[in-house]
Amino acid sequence: MSNANGARRVVVTGMGAVTPIGLNVADLWASMHEGKCGVTELGGFPVDDLKILIAAQIKDFDPKVRLKHFQRDKLVMHADRYSWFAAAAADEAVRQSGLTFPVADPYRSACIIGSGAGGLTTYEQSYRALFLEGKRATHPLTLLRIIGSSASAHVGIEFGIKGPTFATCSACSTATHAIGIARDYIKNGVVDVAIAGASESVINYGTMKAWQALHVLSPEGCFPFAKKRNGTVLGEGAGVLVLESYEHAKARGATILAEIAGYGMTSDAKDMVNPDIEGPREAMRMALDDAQISPADIQYLNAHGTATTINDANETRAIKAVFGNHAKNLAISSTKSMTGHPLGAGGGIEAAACISAMREGWVPPTIGLDDPDPECDLDYIPNVGRKLDVTYAMSNSFAFGGLNAVLVFGPPPA
């Protein structure tokens, strides 16, 4: 398989997630079983004149509880909320992996945690203080909270990672790019272990205004592939994996959750908002080629499925172009129907969903799908999840700007 040219195989040994429907992977997965929807009335700040009044917000996350055992990173409590989510998800993934950090050779570990927008809420609060409240100074840690690499730095400090540590940034493909790059670093022998994923927390007045102005948010809900869909719903959270070379995981007797069998990335190079078929299609093909499997080997596809009119129809066409006749047999779902759109973090949370589906033999649904759009005529697992043996799963992430990234997850190497 993926070691045909002597490159190393890369496996997942830990998963972590913070989402509006579960503050860890177990709770997230239980919510997906229930078909729980994380979209609620927008709150937590003055909504003033906003027209869009719903979002999938995380309401019960307490960093003082969740991160109180952090030892090496003394400043995590002062970080932006997006870094808290990243730290909590990374911590969960690390615990599950059973790996002791720092690893024996800390230069052989990587920490790649991306974010579409970093500490955007800190920006907003600081500008409010400066421009509206007439404050003379911002909080001294403002800069450290804002920078988009702060989550990777916080996590890297806590776990003593001294190898490649940085953030990826590709809007809604951010986490998938981070996981893909980390996988390639391990595959090519740059490092043996990586913590990779992304985090996002941008639900504030200014962000809502900016998205509202783009007219892609739904005032009612996130209904991927449905006839009634009329836009996406902003979410927030983090999804982080622990990756290792197969040899590294095997040598320490780790429980291997899955293999990252393939990775593909392309860019439409065409349009900032309108997705193309070619870019997503080629990214899916590349990921299949990389995994050295054929389209018919995939049983479950976690779609990008944002519930915008154009994405879901376009993604359906791209899936048909790649999978041909098998497209009709493929179980597809958009878990964004439950989590909302966690923007850059999406691919990390959805990776956890794919791996959980493979491990349990159960695929999560697309909720809110009573009346499908005739243009979206595949099996999107409407409303209720189902039992299904999944050997290979694919996860799609397609971002504004036409930035596409696709992962293929396979079973633990025999």
């Binding site: 002062h78 007439g134 003379r136 100074a137 909080h139 001294p140």
Partner: protein, 90 residues
């Protein structure tokens, strides 16, 4: 301890990992295990509380911040000059 002193001790305690109750004017800041970044946050809080601006650069050793008493003296001096003299906006 006067009002300025009490307020400053409260701010210091807020930024200490293990706040203690035996802080006096002669307590050296080094005894409070305050690191450079903590100091930046303490200065921010003091400026905010008293509406003053404290000339301070994290790259330099600051004589004014040796003991709790020296911080209190400096703050009183700046408060006496008034917000305008200290360059504060409001």
């Amino acid at each position: 301890m006067d009002e300025v002193g009490t307020k400053i001790v409260e701010i210091l305690k807020k930024h200490m990992k293990e706040p203690r109750d035996d802080i006096s004017m002669s307590t050296p800041l080094t005894d409070l295990k305050i690191e450079s970044l903590d100091l930046a946050m303490i200065v921010f809080d003091i400026e905010d509380t008293f509406g003053i601006e404290i000339p301070y650069n994290a790259n330099e050793d600051v004589e004014d911040f040796k003991t709790v008493g020296s911080v209190v003296d400096r703050v009183k001096e700046l408060v006496a000059k008034g917000p305008a003299a200290a360059g504060a906006k409001a």
